[in-house]
């Protein structure tokens, strides 16, 4: 342990590089080197020190990532525990009544289940990864018009308009078939484009 570790830094002790305190250089780097400080940028020693700072900053995180990459097997247990806890507390949301020919039979699906249907439908379409799903309208009243809003990521190079049209049709079909909702319209918002088979996120 270093001596006197709890003592605040005495400003007179602070090392300087070409007249700039290390503290100042660090803050300058944190601010993205803006606004540009000509005194700092004009000094080779300061620029060198900034590079050192940048290096330890980048390496701090990178060394953690490297350590994590080396022991991936350790993560199974806590993730299993996490999933078990989460599944116990998944909230269903609003109930959506489903029409049944026998009036004495009352069926419903939850809003969460309906969202799940929409996700599966979207993911099943080539070049689409569905994002969020929102239902606007009176879900609890059978036959009331409901609007659906979804976001989706699309594979690079596809015709987005055609892709959105197909997605819209699939969603209407699925929801009509499995929930009996009356879908007024489906808004599709493509908010991300991804390149196929790339590891990059």
């Amino acid at each position: 342990m270093s001596i006197d570790d709890d003592a605040p830094l005495d400003p007179t002790d602070e090392p300087t590089i070409d007249g700039q305190t290390v503290e100042r250089l660090s803050d300058y780097l944190d601010s993205g080197r803006t606004p540009r400080d000509p005194d700092i940028e004009g000094s080779a020693a300061c620029r060198l020190y900034l590079r050192s700072l940048e290096q330890v900053h980048d390496l701090s995180r990178a060394s953690l990532e490297e350590a994590a990459r080396r022991e991936p097997d350790r993560d199974g247990a806590w993730i299993d525990g996490l999933l078990a806890s989460i599944k116990r507390e998944v909230v269903g949301g609003r109930d959506i009544p489903i029409h049944h020919p026998d009036a004495s039979v009352r069926l419903s699906v939850t809003e969460a289940a309906a969202r799940g249907l929409v996700r599966r439908t979207g993911d099943a379409q080539a070049g689409v990864v569905l994002g969020s799903t929102t239902f606007d309208g009176d879900l609890a009243t059978a036959g009331a018009p409901v609007a659906v809003r979804v976001t989706a990521a699309a594979r690079y190079g596809l015709d987005l308009e055609a892709l959105a049209d197909e997605l819209r049709a699939r969603i209407v079909d699925t929801l009509t078939r499995h929930t009996g909702l009356t879908i007024s319209h489906v808004d599709v918002h493509i908010d991300d484009v991804f390149v196929a088979r790339e590891d990059d996120r």
Binding site: M1, S2, D5, D6, A7, P8, L9, E14, P15, V22, E23, S26, S52, L53, Q55, V56, H57, L59, S60, A62, S63, L64, E65, E66, A68, R69, P72, R74, D75, A77, W78, I79, G81, L82, L83, S85, I86, K87, E89, V90, V91, G93, A112, R115, G116, R119, D123, V129, L130, G131, S132, T151, A153, D191, D192, F194, R197, E198, D199, R201
Partner: protein
């Protein structure tokens, strides 16, 4: 999880909004993607490996419950990092309240000799070893600042230290790390 699961390549933002909608599987993908880093980070903050799994599991459970508060889904990783930081700090507080602070000083870290580091010729190893050599409280301040983007004031509050002390510790950590890494420039 299946190898060809399209979600494995989905952006963080996509996974986060799906998880917010209640998609457990998307959240699982996020947890597998970022959990390992969070666990290593938590272990470094705590100064021990023993509790890091618990801390990270707890953090991910809390995050799941709070997904509605996530304003920028694309920044879900930083958001998780903060929750993990908070959970780790909570543990430190509990220790402070129940133990004599000094009695808890961790065993001296096993330093890898410089030979080994040089042999490995890996900058990352050298950095890892350097972080390991830092006194625990300096390391905590440093990691909160550099990897979880905490401000000096936030670190001071979290660790119950004066801001000037936090600045001092970070300055010492910085000077030490820069010296340690000099050979790699």
């Amino acid at each position: 999880m299946l190898e060809d699961d399209p979600l494995l390549e989905a952006a963080d933002a996509t996974l986060a909004v799906r998880a917010r909608d209640g998609d457990v599987h998307s959240y699982e993908v996020l947890a597998r993607r970022h959990g390992p880093l969070m666990r290593v980070y938590a272990a470094r903050l705590l100064g021990s490996d023993a509790e890091s799994d618990d801390v990270v599991q707890d953090a991910f459970l809390t995050a799941w419950r709070r997904l509605v508060d996530l304003d920028e889904p694309a920044r879900v990783r930083n958001w998780l990092m903060r929750i993990v930081s908070n959970k780790a700090i909570d543990r430190l507080r509990v220790r402070r309240d129940h133990d004599d602070v000094d009695s808890w000083d961790p065993p001296a870290p096993q330093h890898d000799g410089p030979e080994r580091v040089v042999e490995a010729r890996l900058q990352l190893d050298a950095m890892w070893a350097a972080l390991d050599k830092l006194p625990l409280d300096q390391r905590r301040c440093w990691l909160l600042r550099e990897t979880a983007d905490y401000s000096y004031a936030e670190i001071a509050e979290a660790l119950d230290l004066p801001v000037s002390t936090v600045r001092g510790k970070i300055a010492r950590a910085r000077a030490f790390l820069i010296t340690e890494m000099e050979a790699w420039r």
